[in-house]
Subunit: 135 residues, 2 copies
DNA sequence: ATCTAACATTAGAACAATTCTAAGTCAAGA
DNA sequence: TCTTGACTTAGAATTGTTCTAATGTTAGAT
């Protein structure tokens, strides 16, 4: 889904399109490295010197609630974010702390709405190990 | 794997079996609710009033490194732990913040050692949604 | 049985990530 | 232009985790 489409969707849903929200979404669009909040914040600060951490957190939560971005809880105590929301596996290297996308793995849960009576809203298939660079 | 077997394995591998380590592992054995560090710490404090948070953290890390327990990073900013190490899915309810075990789902990654050139060491298949109680 | 060196535990300080707060800014409609 | 509500800001507060230095414990050597 293109940046324009996501921005349009935000707008249609009655959400104010501030310069900060635009900047956060655009940053994720251009940086598919699963950045942390810190990385996003310090990068945006170079362009918008007065942007606040609270705004970055608020915006990421807002975009996540609208389903336009994805929150990654693979690294303990630290959030990463992904522009791509289509379900896909993430690989975390515990040596270099990098998050990788993994080539499509067919998941038996794909498309399922319920499991054990619980309502499925999101799949987060994580893999932990040592990445090719670190091996 | 029984508590006795895990304790024996720890011992065989040359790890000192202190009363605190015994207590942490036993607590996880008896509480299969995927407790957080806080829950473990405050429960153990009732029996061992001087146990320290650092010891709980150290012990959980040690047990996790020996592969005797499993760390769960499903809830943002908070660790949960599981006595059961056989790979299985975890469901997190974002309403009540409870972690559930999910009935066995066959995973195409099961048994795989490598993916995209990365070495797989652990699978963490997480599902987010609303649990049956909260629905 | 005692000594000793290595390891483990403790309490609390330090640190890191996130959330909260209160004041200020901005934009759209009356 | 004024008002209202929503958004942003800076920094304080909170929460979860790790570090530190002192103390306690253990296992092996004597």
């Amino acid at each position: 889904m293109s940046l324009k489409e996501k921005l349009a969707e935000l707008n249609e849903k009655g959400c104010t399109l501030t310069i900060q929200r635009h900047a956060v979404l655009e940053y994720l669009y251009e940086n598919r490295t699963h950045p942390t909040v810190e990385e996003i914040y310090y990068s945006l600060k170079e362009k918008f010197s007065t942007i606040s951490k609270a705004t970055v957190y608020n915006t990421l939560e807002l975009l996540n609630n609208y389903g336009l971005i994805q929150e990654i809880t693979i690294e303990k105590g630290k959030l990463h974010f992904d522009y791509e929301v289509k379900p896909h596996h993430h690989f975390f290297c515990h040596r270099c702390n990098h998050v990788y996308d993994v080539d499509v793995v067919e998941c038996p849960l794909a498309g399922k709405k319920m499991i054990d009576g619980h309502k499925i809203e999101e799949l987060r298939p994580y893999i932990i190990g040592t990445c090719s660079k670190c091996l």
